[in-house]
Symmetry: C2
C-alpha cells in the first residue's frame, strides 16, 4: 500500500510511481522500457496501457469526479476498492472470466491488471456486425456462477453478511444506478436527453402510470433485495471480446441486489444493439443475419444461465437456503427441483423488468449507448430508439406473463418491423 | 463506557458496579437504598429490577450463552449492542412505544432502562383472559411507524445503507431465526420437541413438499430482502401491557428484513393464543368472548398497520422509493396510490406466510409458547396445537389467495371447531 496522498497519474508519471512494483515489472519488464498510452474512454476513470519489453498491463485509476460530467460531480475514490473486491470474487467464482489482478493500491485508488491484447469492447463489435461463437453461453455461465456463488444458496451466511456490509458502503455508485436507471428517465430531469423526434413517445411513457409504478417496484427490488453480489453495470461496454474469447470488466458498481439485474441489463444491451442495426448495417440480408445472431446470443445467454444455475443448484447448494437436509436428505429430491423452478421463474420475471428499464434509461436518461448515438441520420436514429422504448415498455409491463425467451425474441422481431413515429 | 473486562452481574454486585452512574441514580436515588431482584425468565439474558428510594430501573445484561440451553450454546454479547441500537431507533420512529434507555455499556453488554411498574408480559395476560383496549391498534401503528421509517421509503438511503451494514453483523441471532423458524421445524432435528400425540400430523407436515418449499421461499425473503429494520422477535412475549397501556421490548434480534416478518410473527402468537384457550378458559361463553376479542385485536392490528402505513406513505414518503417527484409532482397522485396498494398487498402476503411458519415452529421446534406448554392435559394440548399447525399450513400455502383479514379470522374459527387427531 502506498502511504502517499492520492494523486492522479499522468502518462509521464506512471513509470516513476509504479516502476518499483515487482508484481507489475514481472509482467512488463524494466520500467525504463515502458511506453504509456492513456485510453480511458469510459465515463469515470483514468486507464493506461503500460507496454514494456516483456509484456503489457492495464493501470486503472479512479478520479475523484465523474469524468463524463466533470469536476462538478464528485465521486468517491473508494469505487476502486469495490472494483478490486468484486474482481477477486468474480475470479474465484467464475475462473477465467475477468482480467487477472496484479496489484491494488487503495490509497491511490488504482488497480493494475491483465491487458487483454487483442480484445475489443463488445459494444464496438456489435456495431461492426461481428459475431462471437459461444458468447451467449459464456455470459450466461458468468452470471450463473457469480450470482449463485455470491448468494445464500452457496456461501456461508456469516461470510455473505460480512460481504453485504462491505459492499453496502458503495453508496454513491448505487445512488447513480437508483436515480439514473429507475427514476430520472421517467420524468423531466435536467441531465436527461433524448432525440427530439421521440418527444411524443417520451411524453406518453412519462404519463404511463403502470410503467412508472412498475419501474419503482423494480427500484425497490434493486435497492432492498440483497440476493447476491452483482456486477452492477453489466452492459455490452463491460464485456471485452476477441473471436470466441470474452472477459467481463469494470465491476465498480458492485453491490448486493437481485440476480435478475445483471442478466436483464445485459440482455437489454443486446436488444438495443438489435434495434440499432438499421443504422449500422445497410445491407438487408446481412442485417437480418446479424440480428438473428444477436437474438440467438440472447437466447443462449438465458439458457446458459438457466442450465448452469440448475447445475450449481444440484451440486453446490450448500448455503442456508433450500438446504438439502430438508429435501434430498428426506428422499424428496423433487422438492428441491420444485423450489429451483420457482426461483428461476422469479429471476426470469426480474430479468425482464430490469431489461425494460435499462432500455428506457439508455435512450431517455443521461448515459446513452454508442449504437444509437452514432446513427447520424436523426430520423433513422429516432425510429430505432422508438422501437427500443416500446420493447422496453412491453417487457416491464409484461414481465409476469411473458413465458419464455422465444416470446421475447418474437416480440423483438415484431416490434422492429413497425414504425412508431 | 466501562473499560473493565465483561463480567456477569450478580444481585450483590449491581450497586457496587452501577451505583456511580448518574443517569441511573437520578431515577433510583442513592445506591445504598437499592434492592435488587433478578427476574430474567427469558431465554437469553440476566434481568434485574433495581428499586431505590426514588424509583426503579431495569438492568438487562447479555450472557455469553443461551440461558435456555446453557453454556454449551455460546452467543455473542454483542446482542446488547443491537438491542440498544434498535431501542433508540424504535423510540425515535414510534415515540412512547418502547422503554426509555437511561444507560448503555457496550463492554459489559448491558442496557439500563425504564421499569414498567405495573406492566405484565402480554403472553401471560392472554393466558389469563385479560382484554386490553386499543392493543391491536397500538401494535399495528408500532409496526407501521418502525417499519416505514426504517426503510428506503423514508430514510436517506446512505443512512439506511449504513444501518444495514451495522445490523448485518447481528449474524448469530439471525442464524437462530433462520434455522429455528424456517428450517428445523420441517425435519427431525435433535433440539426439536413436540407433544407426542401430534406425531401423525408432524409426519404429514414434514412430508408436505409444497409447505417446505414455501417455508424456504419465506426464509429466502427473510434472509435477503432487507426492506427495513425489523424488531426481529416480535411475539406476545416481547410486549408488555397494563390496562390500555403497552410497550414493545427485547429487540435484540433486530435485523434488516421484510416488513411482513414482524407483523406475521405477532399475528401468529395471537392466533396460537386463540387456539390455546380451551386449555385456559373452561367456561364456553367466556372463552368464546375472549377468542372474539383476540380476533378483533388481530383485525385491528392489521387495520392499524394498514391505516398508519398509508398515512405515512402520503405524508412522509421522502426516501428513494416511489418518489413524489414521479407521481404527485407530475399530477399523478393516483400513481402513488396504485403503488401503495401493490406494496400493502405484498406485505400482506408476506405477513400470512411468516405467520404460518411461526405457528409451526412454536409447536414443532425448540422454543415453545407458554399458552400451549401450560396445558397439562396432553390430549387437550395436542388438540389445540394441532389446530394451530393446520391453520399455519393453510396460511403459508394460501398466502397469495387469502384476500383479507376477515378470511383469516373466519378460517381460524372454522379450524378451531374441528378435531384433527
Amino acid at each position: 500500500m502506498s502511504e502517499a496522498a492520492y494523486e492522479a497519474l499522468r502518462p509521464e508519471t506512471v513509470a516513476e510511481r509504479l516502476g518499483h512494483v515487482q508484481a507489475i515489472t514481472q509482467r512488463t519488464g524494466d520500467p525504463s522500457s515502458w511506453q504509456i498510452q492513456e485510453v480511458g474512454d469510459g465515463n469515470l476513470n483514468l486507464v493506461f496501457i503500460v507496454t514494456g519489453d516483456r509484456g503489457q498491463v492495464i493501470v486503472k485509476q479512479a478520479l475523484p469526479y465523474v469524468r463524463l460530467v466533470g469536476e462538478s460531480w464528485p465521486l468517491p475514490l473508494k469505487r476502486a476498492f469495490f472494483e478490486y473486491h468484486a474482481l477477486i470474487r468474480q475470479a474465484a467464482r467464475a475462473p477465467g472470466s475477468v482480467p487477472e489482478v496484479f496489484y491494488y493500491d487503495e490509497g491511490q485508488a488504482l488497480v493494475v491488471m491483465e491487458f487483454l491484447t487483442d480484445h475489443v469492447i463488445l459494444r464496438q463489435s456489435l456495431m461492426q456486425g461481428q459475431t462471437h461463437d459461444g458468447l451467449g453461453r459464456f455470459l450466461g455461465e458468468f452470471c450463473a456462477r457469480t450470482l449463485f456463488r455470491g448468494s445464500d444458496l452457496h456461501m456461508p451466511t456469516a461470510e455473505r453478511k460480512r460481504d453485504l456490509a462491505l459492499f453496502s458502503e458503495n453508496i454513491e455508485l448505487c445512488d447513480i444506478t437508483e436515480n439514473l436507471v429507475f427514476s430520472d428517465p421517467y420524468f423531466d430531469v435536467e441531465m436527461n436527453r433524448h432525440t427530439p423526434a421521440l418527444d411524443p413517445i417520451v411524453t406518453m411513457l412519462r404519463a404511463d402510470r403502470d410503467l412508472k409504478v412498475a419501474a419503482q417496484h423494480l427500484k425497490a427490488a434493486f435497492a432492498n433485495n440483497a440476493e447476491t453480489l452483482l456486477h452492477g453495470d453489466l452492459h455490452t461496454g463491460s464485456v471485452m471480446v476477441h473471436g470466441d474469447q470474452a472477459r467481463v470488466i469494470d465491476p465498480e458498481f458492485a453491490t448486493y441486489g437481485p440476480m435478475g439485474f445483471d442478466i436483464g441489463m445485459l440482455i437489454a444491451n443486446f436488444l438495443m444493439a438489435y434495434c440499432a442495426q438499421p443504422g449500422h448495417l445497410a445491407n438487408v440480408e446481412a442485417r437480418r443475419n446479424y440480428q438473428d445472431w444477436i437474438l440467438q446470443t440472447v437466447a443462449e445467454l438465458w439458457s446458459g444461465f438457466s442450465a448452469e444455475f440448475s447445475h450449481l443448484w444440484r451440486t453446490e447448494r450448500q448455503g442456508i437456503l433450500y438446504q438439502s437436509t430438508l429435501f434430498e436428505a428426506q428422499g424428496d429430491e423433487l422438492g428441491s427441483e420444485q423450489a429451483r423452478l420457482d426461483r428461476l421463474a422469479a429471476i426470469w420475471r426480474d430479468t425482464l423488468g430490469f431489461c425494460g428499464v435499462e432500455m428506457h434509461r439508455r435512450t431517455l436518461g443521461l448515459a446513452h449507448i454508442a449504437e444509437f448515438d452514432q446513427i447520424t441520420d436523426e430520423t433513422l436514429r429516432a425510429r430505432c430508439e422508438a422501437r427500443g422504448l416500446m420493447l422496453g415498455r412491453a417487457l416491464v409491463i409484461g414481465r409476469n406473463n411473458i413465458i419464455d425467451m422465444a416470446t421475447v425474441t418474437e416480440l423483438t422481431r415484431h416490434i422492429n418491423e413497425k414504425d412508431y413515429l
